[in-house]
Symmetry: C2
DNA sequence: TTGTACGCGTTATCAT
DNA sequence: ATGATAACGCGTACAA
């Protein structure tokens, strides 16, 4: 293993000078710089990040915590973050929590030991004690997608989920639907709770009765929402439309509908949330609430970078993005006969 | 920041003893151990991974290089690797190369600086000079999914891609198809080349003529294969069936078919490769070549761990998994009239 | 502009 | 079973 000392010897300078060259210090004579660079080339030297991190207290690494990388929403935002981070000299240590708060806790501890420069969370629970370790350590962090109950003191970039859900239900209402079901996400996450709120708000505004039998539970991944949709279809008064708290859940409901011999949208209309890539496939054509994932991810990363690099404890950056409804085939375009 | 020294003082022992406790050395009196643990608790101490890595020459981190995390195949294998690695005390630094060899080179350099204990590659090109830096550094690495031309000297776990493609074409042939097109993946990857070979082998075996007009080019992600499929459909002698080199490409072809007003499978049959989750959705029902992704990912990680932890330069672990054809709806079940 | 010398936090070696 | 000390590779005050 070749170190800074080897380069120093080879170039007939001191370690300090080599260090200066590596770190682009202005105070080094062009000739010396060249001598050193030549030695670096010849010996195929590259600096040791561990040693640099120890001295400089900066590792140029960031912990990224996601619920589930197989969910396209997370995969796409992770891609954006990883690439953008790489362009700025940061590496991403990726952890997937499966929405398990104790797993998240463990990962946080590990990342703290590894001296990451900061955290990006897309995985937080509404009540999330695991963040306190990060706060105690004084490390910067940014939330995206979800926020915690302590959001007022955090940096975050989220969607106006309530509005998104409202738009979805409004669309269904205007198409003539009156029995609109909700497959809700877990209320232990801000997204789940807020989207449910948007659904309820729309119901209220349009004078629709709040029927508990039309609200079923789902998880963001896994097949629980398939079963929940089945329950809906098999009830004695099935809904004519379903709003699901994310696209994966809507897709499961779609699958269940087909299993029941139901036609979408003729027998049941469907709206999802996220606008994942497959939603636009012509065999699916899922009407859904779109959000600008990439922008969200970019803002999250850039915010964190700014905090890391400025050090100054500035006021929290809190961004709320606006959703859009993307209309495709799963709701049809005709008025429903009431 | 509390260090080992603080603990030592607090517990009235030496740094060395604290270190022994942390590392579960057997040579420490139970009472002392307890004293130390108490101090650790009280001062909320956790060790610094950078310092440990410097001394012990082990960082318990692994570089994982993927082409594209938004491809479900990679997302699912990454999930498996991350979780399994976490359970064994390893962190994963994830890098996405976009199939760009110079990006990969850059990431490798960064990971070398970071002193990862080893590499897992799912992103290699058939001719891939970027790996030489890893080899020179003497670091262990394992390939999965794809291999390089130097595979005989590598550890790898891959699928029998040729067999997979053969099974796909065989299925189509037995259903009566005689004009079977191929949307091939890039031949710069072993997967692309091998799957094309399987296609050709089947053609030959069944006495079908090798028609260059039936072979079009695609990339594993992006929409190039949509355009390629369009070319196929708009030709003067369109195929009655298409085999695509992965599911994402097959899905694009499906989309193109629907755009052209073609019915799947009535007008054109479709087979993909990978069996990603959405393939089994009832609105899609993609017939495809299945592979045991999780097993592949597990073997890749476990192999690497074994090498890292044994240190002994054992002989390469080389595993070739067998594919299976999963028949769904996109080929129909009836014989094609010839 | 360059060099000297120390310290970051830990583990390994050698004593005791 | 425990302690003293050196060393890992680098950056940075300070001196020259």
């Amino acid at each position: 293993m070749t170190t800074i000392k080897d380069i120093a010897r080879r170039a007939n300078v001191s370690d300090a000078t080599v260090s200066r060259v590596i770190n682009n210090s202005p105070n080094v004579k062009p000739q010396t710089r060249e001598k050193v660079n030549k030695a670096i080339e010849e010996l195929n030297y590259y600096p040791n990040s561990l040693a640099r991190g120890m001295r400089s207290k900066k590792t140029h690494s960031i912990g990224l915590l996601l619920a589930d990388i197989t969910n396209p929403f997370y995969a796409e935002t992770a891609k954006t973050i990883i690439e953008r981070a790489g362009n700025h000299g940061y590496s991403i240590i990726l952890c997937t929590t499966n929405n398990d708060i104790s797993e998240q806790q463990k990962y946080i501890d590990v990342l703290l030991q590894r001296k990451v420069d900061g955290f990006i969370f897309a995985s937080v629970h509404w009540k999330d004690p695991s963040l306190s370790a990060v706060i105690e350590a004084g490390l910067p962090y940014v939330l995206y997608n979800r926020k915690t109950s302590a959001y007022k003191r955090s940096n975050y970039v989220v969607l106006d989920n309530e509005l998104g859900a409202y738009l979805a239900v409004e669309h269904l209402y205007k198409l003539g639907h009156r029995r609109i079901a909700l497959i809700r996400g877990p209320h232990t996450f801000s997204t789940g709770k807020e989207r449910s709120n948007g659904y309820l708000k729309a119901l209220k505004e349009f004078g629709l009765s709040h029927d508990e039998k039309l609200i079923v539970q789902g998880k963001y991944s896994g097949k629980e929402s398939y079963d929940s949709a089945m329950k809906l279809f098999n009830s004695n008064k099935p809904p004519t439309a379903i709003f699901a708290s994310n696209d994966l859940m809507a897709l499961r409901a779609y699958d269940a509908a087909l299993f029941c011999g139901l036609s979408v949208p003729r027998d049941v209309a469907l709206v999802g949330f996220d606008d994942i890539e497959i939603a636009s496939h012509r065999a699916i054509g899922l009407t859904t609430v779109s959000q600008n994932r990439n922008l969200m991810a970019e803002i999250a990363l850039d915010t964190l970078r700014k905090i890391i690099e400025n050090e100054s404890p500035q006021e929290p950056a809190q961004v709320v993005l606006k959703p859009m409804l993307t209309v495709r085939e799963t709701c049809g375009s005709q008025m429903k006969k009431i």
